[in-house]
């Protein structure tokens, strides 16, 4: 067991190395001279030279990659071209709101999607199933900012139930913090919820055909007990997997959601960095999110054995 965990952790190291290599080499893959593109149209040759030096474009590729990787291992992501601050410090300032948004969205989406998937599987083929699965198709199709504007318009502008935009740190009270995050979390969680609900339904449908479900029913167990105790536990592995894979949707959507609801998080940082063509910052954010994504999926892999003791390594 311990050997498996160690092996699994070791296996993510090459993946992370490849991610780092990709994120680094994007500078070289891009057509044209990135220093010129980043400097913009009004740049003087001195500006371009400064950027080239900052990005290290004036030295051989492998030397740079080695140095960059070495600094990365010491948690140094370089300096912003625009503010000249360390990228790690800039990320540190902005990570709170994004983390809050992600956690609230994750809790909300899972607590809605899993019961939805269970109920639709139980009622498969009825109108309840069709209504919810129809909703899931819409959830996939309506882009995150459309939901975001719609929710903000209805619940903040027209009904005035929740704040339109902004962010309050948790230190100023739980409700002010949460009230600012409810609408963004619903908007961001829409696609994610649809995805989890669909997989939960599919996985449950398969489990509900098993013999032990019939046994449970025959011995007189109630539907609720069967669904949530026997069936859901055995249907959990694909559901947990998709919760992890779907994190990519959350990360991408967060950038947009933060922009609509004016949340000063990493998404805002990314957008500002794009407008200023501040590549080291973009690189840092992409790298951070990718590592988080890899680590979350690693943890989920390790969770499998806890969820399903039949999985042994």
């Amino acid at each position: 067991m311990l050997a498996y965990i160690l092996r699994r952790i070791a296996a993510t190291v090459p993946v992370m190395a490849i991610v780092a290599f990709f994120v680094f080499s994007l500078l070289y893959i891009a057509p044209g001279d990135p220093a010129v593109v980043i400097a913009g149209d009004q740049a003087t040759p001195a500006d371009i030279e400064r950027i080239r030096e900052n990005l290290g474009l004036d030295r051989p590729f492998l030397v740079q990659f080695g140095e960059w990787l070495w600094r990365l291992l010491h948690a140094d992501l370089g300096k912003s071209i625009f503010t000249n601050l360390p990228v790690t410090a800039m990320i540190g300032q902005r990570i709170g709101p994004t983390l809050s948004l992600m956690v609230v969205t994750l809790c909300l989406a899972v607590s809605v999607a899993v019961p939805m998937g269970v109920v639709t599987a139980w009622q498969a083929g009825t109108w309840i199933d069709r209504v919810f699965m129809g909703f899931a198709v819409f959830g996939f199709s309506v882009p995150v900012f459309v939901v975001a504007y719609l929710l903000a318009f209805v619940f903040a502008l027209e009904l005035d139930w929740l704040p339109v935009q902004g962010y309050t740190p948790m230190s100023e009270g739980l409700w002010p913090w949460l009230s600012n995050l409810i609408l963004p979390a619903i908007a961001l969680g829409c696609v994610y919820t649809a995805l989890i609900a669909r997989i939960t339904r599919a996985s449950m449908l398969e489990v509900l055909q098993q013999d032990y479900i019939k046994t449970a029913r025959a011995k007189g167990m109630g539907s609720g007990g069967i669904l949530f105790v026997h069936a859901l536990k055995n249907a959990a592995v694909p559901v947990v997997t998709v919760i992890g894979i779907g994190m990519a949707l959350l990360i991408g959507g967060a950038v947009v959601t933060e922009s609509v609801f004016v949340i000063p998080g990493l998404g805002r940082l990314t957008i500002d960095a794009i407008l200023r063509r501040d590549y080291p910052v973009i690189q840092g954010v992409v790298l951070l999110f990718s590592f988080v994504y890899v680590l979350v999926n690693l943890m989920i892999d390790l969770l499998y054995t806890a969820l399903d003791p039949r999985i042994r390594y």
Partner: protein, 305 residues
């Protein structure tokens, strides 16, 4: 007429009515109406997509004006009979802009779907067939897939000049590893099939086996995947344009229109609303097509979801 033999029927036992002698003939529904009934999702999605496609092609003839014509005198007009969708803060006609925006969205969606399919097919076939390359190639694909697609596209766009072509390539690079993975898994299961063994035993060369036996079988799952990629590429393009890393602002695209309407959305919500509705309908139509195609082409997958 069937006569029921005279047996004593116990209390409470019902006898089913006799079946009619001849069952009514099963008539498979034919023609357009039959197709609509059998495959409602493809029919609805297809009709919607066709309407959108025609809108894109016929944009200049649908009572539009120049979508980039500035008119500061009539800024931010509400929707009216003169300006069906109103005007934006530079006085440009929103109806024309939204209709022309259809072109960008469809171009990006279809091009990314084709680009990602071809690139994914090539990588997937190599990876599935060339054993020594498989490990390395798939590790690279894993690495690429570990970067959330939108972020990868953002990073690529930050390094290039904004243009529709660059948007297509950036989204395509972010999407193609998924196709590669799918094709590889199909190839791996196909190469164990007896008819492939037979072809190998008969001395057929690898390129011919791929062309004749493998490729046709990858087409169905790939088409389904391509439809979903098309839908997600359209959303990604809108997101990139919305945050200023996509189509250049001089070209009217839905993401650009929404980005321009962002500052005013609380007072002039229609600037954001019209492109948003068009984008959602377009993505919905493609997704419906995808679901329908999946049910039709890939029954195994259909049962899973």
């Amino acid at each position: 007429m069937i006569t029921i033999p005279a047996i004593t029927i116990p209390e409470g036992l019902a006898i089913a009515a006799p079946l009619p002698d001849i069952l009514p003939p099963v008539r498979p529904a034919r023609g357009l109406l039959g197709f609509v009934r059998r495959r409602p999702t493809i029919a609805i999605g297809g009709a919607l997509l066709l309407a959108i496609l025609l809108t894109a092609l016929l944009a200049p003839y649908l009572w539009t004006v120049d979508p980039t014509a500035l008119a500061p005198a009539r800024r931010t007009r509400e929707p009216s009979t003169a300006f069906w969708f109103g005007t934006d803060m530079l006085g440009r006609d929103l109806y024309s802009r939204v209709l022309y925006g259809t072109r960008v969205s469809l171009t990006v969606g279809f091009s990314v779907a084709i680009f990602a399919s071809l690139a994914g097919l090539a990588v997937g076939l190599v990876s599935g067939f060339v054993r020594w390359a498989d490990g390395i190639v798939m590790r690279f694909m894993d690495g690429l897939m570990s970067i959330p697609p939108i972020l990868l596209a953002i990073a690529l766009m930050a390094l290039t000049k904004g243009s529709v072509g660059n948007v297509i390539v950036a989204i395509g690079i972010a999407e193609f590893p998924r196709v590669a993975r799918l094709v590889r898994s199909v190839v791996l299961s196909l190469r164990e099939q007896p008819y492939v063994d037979a072809a190998v035993a008969a001395g057929t060369r690898s390129p011919m086996i791929i062309l004749r036996h493998i490729l046709p079988n990858t087409l169905a799952p790939m088409t389904v995947q391509a439809t979903y990629i098309c839908a997600s590429a359209m959303i990604t393009e809108a997101i990139l344009s919305f945050i200023g890393a996509g189509t250049p602002p001089t070209i009217p695209s839905w993401g650009n229109i929404m980005a321009e309407g962002r500052a005013l959305w609380q007072v002039k919500p229609y600037i954001v609303a019209f492109p948003a509705i068009f984008l959602s309908l377009t993505v919905l139509s493609v997704n419906l097509m995808g679901d329908g195609l999946r049910d039709a082409l890939d029954p195994r997958l259909a049962k899973q979801l």
